[in-house]
């Protein structure tokens, strides 16, 4: 049983980690929590739903090859969500740079409410059921049962994290993001366009969140417009757990939270499943605000 | 005959992630003197103020006020014990009036409680009136009485510095720490501040000043300490410090030369 819970935890944890990366990246460059990030993830899930529902209308070569089709779905959902991220920053954060800290927090909250209700009005308040397309047949191995879908999710989340790691460590833009995180003033002095960097950061975070959204939609099979609220908080918990602003921390934190939740729901009580994240969040913030992998300095007021 | 020490530091050190901003500074401030602390940029002067007032707790060493250890105190406790300070980069409460700004400094002297404030008891009214009177006196002292009902954010740079001094004096401190009080001021304003500092000392308050303006430093200081790279390199009367070889080297090395 333990291995089974562990595997389920890792599946969910992968998507928590992907969303958490968005919080951490934005926090790095802006020193702000992007409250609307969870909604981007929710929109990603809805885009995944819309695109997968369109499968019968797709050209034959896509209908024939499931992996290719999924790649297209992930790609399109991620692109559109990147645009959402871009506009989110432009409308809710950019005009308020340098304003008192309370102001962007409230505008981001407004954006979150707006997007949530926007989706509710346009897609309906009822749960949407994903068409069963792939990998629902469980395979059993040594007492642990899993679906091909689960494996796909785990591997793609790891692949996406590797992609992000490459992006921020090996590309020019990634280096600019790291430089801006360390010292925005110096970054501007050496000729980095901080505005561009911030936009790219929001887009990258949204890209990953969209992929996580599609994965979660496929995994649970049904989605709802309130998905982003709880998902957002859990991913934020994961980011804080690993130390906000810390990229590997967000990855570790995501998996850790997924595993804790799966074990907690499996061994204790599943009614309180959603409370674990809140308790972990409060406990970490109160006792170790820098997170597990963070430095213990500037995080306190 | 020298006055007794009021504020002393013993081997005070502050380390920021491997960088020693302050390396074992021991100094003594005597009662009712005007003491200046000078040194090139980055010498650790402001860090010294921060360490003394608890804004940036020292890594090691002691701070004593009237012989009492105040090292582990928080900034508000230090302020209540009688050490007031101004900041190098100004921190007025922009959206409050000048009078309210000074009244914040009077907070620790207020005696009326919450119930009195809600019920508007005579106790509260008298307390408010008394504190407002004192706040207006202080504004008059720094020459801002006329503008008491204006918002602090509409003040000029020089006026803000004056407001900070009035606000710090509102604590009725025994020691006043001024961080670059005349930086960016014209000679007339500088002259005004020099007179002001002398007046403050006349009221029995010990004044410690960080300043780059040598005219001011040499003009009003009783004694001078010189900091460089977080260490004390000289101490003495103004004319002694001006002639001190180590001081001249520190300034020349740092690209500065003391005026005069």
């Amino acid at each position: 049983m333990f291995l089974q819970h562990l595997l389920n935890g890792i599946t969910i944890g992968g998507s928590y980690a992907l969303i958490a990366l968005g919080y951490t990246l934005v926090y790095g460059v802006l020193k702000l929590i992007n409250f609307a990030h969870g909604e981007i993830y929710m929109i990603g899930a809805y885009l995944g739903f819309i695109l997968i529902s369109l499968l019968p209308a797709m050209p034959p070569f896509l209908q024939g090859s499931l992996p290719l089709f999924l790649l297209v779905v992930f790609g399109i959902a991620a692109m559109i969500c990147s645009l959402y991220g871009f506009y989110l920053e432009k409308i809710c954060y950019r005009p308020l740079r340098g304003a008192p800290k309370l102001t962007p927090l409230i505008s981001a909250l407004g954006a979150s409410i707006f997007l949530q209700n926007f989706v509710m009005i346009s897609m309906g308040a009822k749960d949407r059921i994903f068409p069963q397309t792939i990998g629902m047949r469980a395979i059993s191995l040594g007492g642990v049962s899993f679906t091909p879908l689960q494996l796909t999710i785990i591997f793609s989340s790891i692949a996406l994290m590797a992609l992000l790691y490459w992006f921020i460590n090996r590309t020019r833009l990634g280096t600019a993001i790291r430089a801006t995180s360390t010292d925005p003033f110096m970054a501007a002095l050496v000729g980095i366009n901080v505005d561009t960097v911030i936009s790219v950061t929001f887009m990258a975070g949204s890209f990953l969140a969209a992929c996580a959204g599609v994965m979660i939609g496929l995994y649970y099979g049904s989605i709802n417009f309130t998905l982003g609220y709880l998902g957002g908080i859990k991913a934020f918990t994961a980011a804080v757990l690993g130390g906000i602003g810390n990229v590997p921390g967000a990855m570790v934190g995501g998996f850790l939270l997924g595993i804790i939740e799966a074990l907690g729901a499996g061994y204790f009580s599943s009614e309180y499943k959603d409370v674990y994240a809140f308790f972990i969040l409060i406990a970490v913030l109160v006792f170790r605000p820098a997170g597990l992998l963070g430095k213990r300095s500037d995080e306190r007021a | 005959m020298t006055a007794p020490d009021i504020l002393t530091t013993e081997a005070l050190s502050v380390t920021f992630g491997g960088v020693r901003a302050l390396a074992g500074v021991s100094l003594a401030v005597r009662e009712r003197e005007i003491l200046s602390i000078i040194g090139p940029n980055g010498a650790g002067k402001t860090t010294l103020f921060n360490a003394v007032t608890g804004t940036c707790p020292p890594t090691s060493g002691r701070v004593r006020l009237h012989g009492r250890d105040i090292t582990a105190k928080t900034p508000d406790e230090v302020a209540r014990l009688g050490v007031a300070r101004s900041f190098q980069n100004l921190k007025p409460f922009a959206e409050m009036t000048l009078l309210e700004n000074v009244l914040i400094g009077r907070e620790i002297h207020m005696t009326s409680g919450m119930a009195a404030a809600i019920l508007r008891l005579p106790l509260f009214r008298e307390d408010e009136a008394r504190q407002k009177r004192r706040a207006r006196e202080l504004l008059a002292f720094v020459g801002l009485e006329q503008r008491r009902d204006h918002l602090a954010r509409n003040l000029t740079y020089g006026e803000r510095k004056m407001l900070e001094i009035a606000r710090a004096l509102a604590l009725e401190p025994s020691v006043l720490l001024l961080d670059e009080p005349v930086a960016g001021m014209n000679p007339t304003e500088t002259g005004f501040v020099m007179e002001l500092v002398k007046n403050i000392r006349e009221q029995g308050i010990t004044v410690v000043i960080i300043e780059h303006d040598m005219k001011m430093v040499m003009g009003i200081s009783d004694r001078i300490y010189v900091l460089d790279h977080g260490e004390l390199i000289a101490e003495g009367l103004p004319h002694e410090v001006r002639a001190n070889r180590a001081v001249i080297e520190a300034y020349l090395g740092g690209g500065h030369a003391p005026a005069h």
Binding site: P289, R300 | K91, A117
Partner: protein, 381 residues
Amino acid sequence: MNARNLRHDLFFYLGILLICVPFLKIHTLYVLPVFLGAWGLRRFADFAGENRLMVTLRERTVNSVLAHRRVTVGLILAVALLIPLGASDYLIEVFTSVILYAILATALNITVGLTGVLVLGFIGFYAVGAYTTGILTAKFALCGFWIALPLSGLAAMLCGILLGIPALRLRGDYLAVVTLGFGEIIRIFLTNLNGLTGGPNGILGIKRPSFGLFTLDHPRDFYWFALAVLSLVILIVARLVDSRYGRAWIAIRENEMAAGALGINVFRKHLLSFSLSAFFGGIAGSLFAVKQGFISPDSFTFYESVLILCMVVLGGIGNVAGSVTGALLLIAAPEFLREFSLYRMLVFGAVMIAFMVFRPSGLLGSRVIAQEIKDRADDGP
């Protein structure tokens, strides 16, 4: 018109359009008036901002309102007192809700507006207050309403202190998330602690309070009672704002470091404002319990927290009169625009963004603006 203005305009109308899009399906006819109205409002705002006569008029109004504060407050109170005489029971219930939300918004304004701390789970205090009254007066029938009312406030305050002691040492955005977590935890416990709270079904049969022989059964009587509580809360908050406490809170909001250097114990002042606002939140919750007669966890969702925050933002952060205005607009207006109820939260979200970007001081503005006008009058020839 320069490029920046043009861009602002573009954003503005794009925003309006975005809000209108979902309406297109059902109420195509409404979109045009909304658009024209927005255009007109903006032209009017530009005109009012530049035209000398309008500026003087505005300054005069602000000045005379400030000069005759007692008269203004008296007039508003008189209107509020007279409302139930001419209104239907249904309308009275609506206005009673407005009053409850006004209490909540005033309470939340103490932390958000005065000390500048964003609290996202404020509804948690409301819930604690409501359930304390429900449990004490109905579930176990331990005491009457008049004892339960202060106890509800105190229970919420205790939660505020217990939450505040660890949380208020955190950075602002962390604190916001922790309070959000608090609100959720409260709701989940209310749903699952069946023995105490009745679980998802909540608590039924909470009686309305009585004064000796009088019972406040009639909506009109209860309205007046709630109005009295609101007046008391506003009086207390306004007097605290205009005292050493309010000054210290605002100083902390403006600059925590400088406030500390002036001998203010920042943490204790934060905790004071936090627990005070929790206390009033609990009082409002207690009133809510007796007004409804039954309570369930559904009444205490995150949306409610957002709604209250939106009132504070709309009315003016840090402005007590603004909180009441915000409550009036956000509770009463949707009642009259029933068909738009689906779009309520959508519009609120957009309003929060728009106000932060275009007018962070809210509809009524903060006292800063009034002071600014006074400053200019002083400096003028």
